[in-house]
């Protein structure tokens, strides 16, 4: 009687554990479906014809997939231009943020000079202020130098990232031993040589993380380009999509196609660099 009871108890616990695991996966899967459903719905709609979109009850997947929406958006609005503007703006921002973060981060990490504490403190303190709080004076500055409605005016605020400098300083001060720099100095290397040949090659991981964040940030830029770009030839994808929505608010097939075009580059970057992006966010807590 006794052993049998114990055996059934163990079995019950095992069943309980399995059921628990299944329940956990069910919850996680349900959440995962909630996460991807809007995107799948977006993609599915983008391949539907106008007639099929208006069908009631709605069909989830297109019965007769068509590329008409994708070719259509390039005809009714300069989406190719929007896309290239976004690419250009993001690339310029990425390079600039990488360079400025590397220079300032390395200097703040490894050199002592009067004003260092104050300057670095200022970089960190201003990082807290949201962009929306100082966009008005920045707009007036752009107005004063006649940079409204120009590429340089549009990209300017994205050329600098306080967090990039902070991240770089953390990396250089913890990962690169000062002895390396001292050794190079004994060999009569110039400070510039040290910066370019020792610190830079040892910082590629941190630099790529910073670059990815800068690219994502510039690609998603909306409010500033909305203020600065008046001419539609200057629009980035985000502003172009919004303007397109003004005109064709009910043409959901084309709207979804445009949205897919805007999302796909981010999706590709994410899927390729998935591990690095998630790890960087986990490590730094930076908002993507």
């Amino acid at each position: 009687m006794r052993p049998r009871h114990r055996k059934s108890g163990r079995l019950a616990r095992k069943i309980g554990e399995t059921l628990g695991r299944i329940a956990i996966h069910a919850v996680l899967m349900l959440g995962a479906v909630f996460m991807v459903l809007p995107m799948i719905w977006m993609v599915a709609t983008s391949f539907k014809s106008a007639a099929e979109i208006a069908v009631w009850p709605p069909q989830f997947l297109p019965a007769a997939p068509t590329f008409a929406n994708f070719t259509g958006i390039f005809e009714v609005a300069p989406f190719a231009r929007f896309f290239l503007n976004s690419v250009g703006m993001s690339l310029v921002a990425t390079v600039s943020v990488a360079v400025t973060s590397l220079l300032a981060g390395a200097i703040f990490a490894k050199y002592r000079f009067p004003g260092r504490t104050v300057l670095f403190g200022l970089v960190i303190a201003t990082a807290i202020v949201p962009f929306e709080s100082y966009m008005i004076p920045l707009y007036l500055q752009m107005n004063a130098v006649k940079w409204i409605n120009t590429y340089q005016g549009m990209v300017l605020p994205y050329l600098f990232m306080s967090f990039g400098i902070f991240l770089m300083r953390q990396h250089v001060s913890s990962a690169i031993p000062t002895d390396y720099l001292e050794a190079a100095r004994i060999d009569r290397a110039s400070e510039w040589w040290i910066l370019l040949r020792i610190i830079t090659p040892l910082s590629t991981t941190a630099l790529s993380a910073i670059g990815i964040f800068a690219f994502i940030q510039a690609w998603s830029a909306f409010l500033w380009p909305l203020l600065i770009a008046n001419d539609q030839l200057l629009f980035n994808m985000e502003v172009g999509l919004t303007a397109f929505q003004f005109k064709f608010s009910s043409d959901y097939g084309k709207l979804m196609a445009g949205s897919v075009v805007s999302v796909v580059p981010m999706l590709c970057i994410f899927l390729v660099l998935r591990r690095r992006i998630i790890d960087s966010v986990a490590l730094t807590g930076l908002k993507g």
Binding site: I24, L28, G31, M35, V36, P38, M39, M42, I53, W56, P58, L103, A104, I107, Y111, R112, F113, R116, T117, V118, L119, L122, T126, I128, V129, P130, E132, S133, Y134, M135, I136, P137, Y139, L140, Q141, L159, F160, T178, L181, R185, S220, F222, L223, E238, L241, Q245, S249, L255, M256, S259, S262, V263, L267, I269, R274, I278, V281, G285, K287, G288
Partner: protein, 310 residues
């Protein structure tokens, strides 16, 4: 010779000119010059100027710019639009942060268990974080569509009548909150996951040996040890959601299908006062209030983080 370098033993003494290596200082400032110039022009100067502007009546089309002290701030306190915006933004932030935290915590606990699907789940939950806001706001607008939206169709299967998700300002705020939760959930999840995985295995084993149930282990071990990360997530998420604008603009404004009265949020009010009514001083006062709110949350976090360390 190596006075300019920082090594472990040295302390920062910027007021002590005796230890200054001028060759190093020159090099540092030459290297920093372009970065600092950019920094001053796109951050320091506009931030400082926004405070100055807030004390002036500064209409972009009028030449006179009289100094009016705190009048802009006093007027704001009596401005119904501003107060409504403040209220909506506060509700949006509280609800988005609260819901996304409450949902992300148990999911993170589940994900912390070793599983082959862990990487898959992390990827999927993080997808909305990485995707740009405008296209996803348009996608959600389509989901929320009154006539053809899939959400109203799904609800109709349960016998629920069509909901005017984006046209009724009261409901629209909640439509925005649902979308906001969807967007940030993965971010909170990843940070919680890191926190939970950092909890030493032995703590959990000890609690198990003492007969603690999974529920008790969560409340007595996981949650207290997760407090610093929880606090960090709560504060940063609140700060970020206080700047909400893009999805509001796309989903409730600026298209033919848009309702007359949008969900007014703080940044939208700043945008409207500044760039539609051209009241630069007035809008700057609002912007300064936004900064002060964000600063307040940051100080709260600092204080709690310090209390935790002691």
């Amino acid at each position: 010779m190596s006075a300019g370098y920082s090594s472990a033993g040295q302390r920062a003494r910027w007021w002590l000119p005796a230890a200054v290596d001028w060759r190093i200082t020159l090099f540092c400032y030459m290297t920093l010059a372009p970065v600092l110039a950019l920094f001053a022009y796109v951050r320091v100067y506009p931030i400082a100027w926004s405070v100055v502007l807030s004390f002036y009546r500064w209409n972009l089309i009028r030449p006179q710019k009289p100094f009016i002290g705190f009048t802009n701030y006093l007027n704001l306190l009596a401005d119904d639009n501003f107060l409504l915006a403040l209220k909506n933004t506060a509700i949006y932030s509280l609800a988005t942060v609260g819901l996304s935290t409450v949902l992300a915590l148990p999911l993170a606990v589940f994900l912390a268990r070793k599983s082959r699907l862990s990487a898959f789940y992390q990827t999927v939950y993080f997808l909305p974080v990485i995707t740009p806001m405008v296209p996803m706001a348009i996608a959600w607008k389509w989901i929320y569509d009154y006539n053809y939206g899939i959400l109203n169709y799904a609800l109709s299967l349960f016998g629920i009548g069509a909901v005017p998700w984006l046209t009724d300002p009261r409901i629209a705020l909640w439509a925005l909150i649902i979308m906001g939760v969807w967007k940030v959930l993965g971010y909170n999840l990843i940070l919680f996951l890191v926190g939970i995985r950092n909890i030493p295995e032995s703590y959990m084993e000890a609690a198990s040996l003492d007969g603690a149930s999974a529920w008790q282990r969560f409340w007595r071990v996981t949650l207290p040890l997760l407090k610093p990360i929880l606090l960090y997530v709560l504060v940063t998420a609140t700060i970020n959601s206080f700047n909400v604008f893009t999805q509001v603009y796309v989903m409730t404004l600026g298209s033919q299908a848009a309702p007359g009265q949008a969900v007014r949020v703080l940044v939208f009010d700043i945008y409207q006062n500044g760039f539609q009514y051209l009241k630069m001083g007035y809008a700057s006062a609002e912007a300064v209030i936004l900064t002060l709110i964000v600063l307040g949350f940051t100080l709260i976090q600092f204080r709690f983080a310090r209390a935790q360390e002691e």
